[in-house]
Amino acid sequence: MTKTYHPIRSLVWKEWREQRWRFALSALVLTTLSASMVRAQLIPTAESVAIIFGPLGLVLCVFMSMGAVPPERASGTWHFLVTQPVPFGRLLIVKWAVGAAALLSTLILAGAAAYAAERSHGNFAWPPFPDKHVDLPILQGKTSTLVLSMVGTACAAFLTLYSFMFAAMLKARTELHAGLAGILLTIVILAWAAQYPMIGWVYHDEVATVAWFSSLINPLSPLMFQFKENRTMHALALTMTPLVWVGIPVVRWLRRMREAE
């Protein structure tokens, strides 16, 4: 521990001391699980890896983000921390960065362990979907590039998810509240992502109803593509989207301003 003036080092040291058990636990569980499953040939293909690592990564995002601010609020140390002479933004960035580093390290460690297990023994298809991707001229003979880009994409995806959760949990007063918020956010994200496979079924009545509402308020919804020929739908979406995403915050802001007066 430093004895000289260095706010960032002090913040990182404290965060590491508080978060290291989360990193150790996550790395131990994920590494052991992935390596042993590959070794035992329970995960024969890369698709299975995605199925296993996807939910585990989500859990990891919740686990890491709920450890940043909520425990400090629950124990009362948050006030002590924010009264130190360090900009609030910098304090949050350090908290975010330590959690993000632990998350990425865990994922990379678990991936490396799985790869090592496969190399020593197993029947593991790597890279995934070789018949689809390696056919691309740009990637022919560049398996390592493909693997790295996939790992990079996965890390970026989980990092984005972790960042959303970190922001969502900033005001949670306890880890329990944060965990529940994280689970809720995961469900919302999964529901959104689940629209992709639903595109094929969109003409089923119940799915079409979901698609209709989803597209109206969310122009980024994958289901919106189903209505690309429907001009009425476009007009409705153009009206509803700003109402929901701009109108509601503006109304809330106006109400707050009126209260302040």
Binding site: M1, T2, K3, T4, Y5, H6, P7, R9, S10, L11, W13, K14, R17, E18, S75, G76, T77, H79, F80, V82, T83, Q84, P85, V86, P87, E259, A260
Partner: protein, 297 residues
Amino acid sequence: MSDAMIEIHGLRKRFGKQQVLDGVDLTVPTGSIFGFLGLNGAGKTTTISILLGLMKANEGTCSVAGVDPEKDPVEVRRRIGYMAENQTMYGWMRVQEIIDWCGGFYPTWDTGFAMDLCRQMGLSADAKVGTLSKGQSSKLALILALAHRPKLVILDDPVLGLDPLARRDFLRDVIGQLQARDVTVFFSSHLLYEIEPICDYVAILHQGKIVACDTVDALRERVRCVELHTPDAAALRNVPTLLDVRVEGNRTLATVADYGIAKDALTRLGANGSFDDGLNLDEIFEAYVAGRKEVAA
């Protein structure tokens, strides 16, 4: 540089529909020990939060150690020492670790001085913060507020939750450490009898306004309790600066904020000229925040 360590002008803060601070004006002279008094919920902690730059006021300006906390909150916190009510620190750190950790945030941090204070206050450097008693935790918080040798220390109800012995110890440490170092102390509390002996100045915050602000001696000189033999409710209402009227048996006691101004009116009402020995801070405070200006029917 101004002679005031803290200057507050027209400070207003509202939370939703609740007006917590309603035009607070305050000047804390450099080198003084300033008691900031008020009931729970009077707005003391809100004022301190604004002074620390943790919260923005709706209106008004303030300056802390020459810096505007709204414009440069980090510099304000770097220049002052702050101890919160029921301050919770990291229980897993050892005393030495938390001293070193806090040192990372202050360019002027003096670890040797902090360790000297620990020895003086009987704190072991190896003790875990989580194992310290409430009194010891308060001492540690005080050390952390002093180790960068600030010129201003803000103590927000620091004895809250301490038992009487721990309070006495803590206040003795505060007096011992601060008076000798020419440090300005802004001391918020609602335990008046505890801080009366150590304060030079006091301000009373009530319903978001400063209702009294003066030296302790001047307040005791000004605020008087007078015995009246023939109370006339209607006439009593017209006594200038009247704070409180109490009926005790067959006598009526009237407390006024400024005896110099109210003297003639009181004499006309039959004040016999015999006053209490002088009100203590507790009684003065009670008259300001809970005084009734009507004689009960």
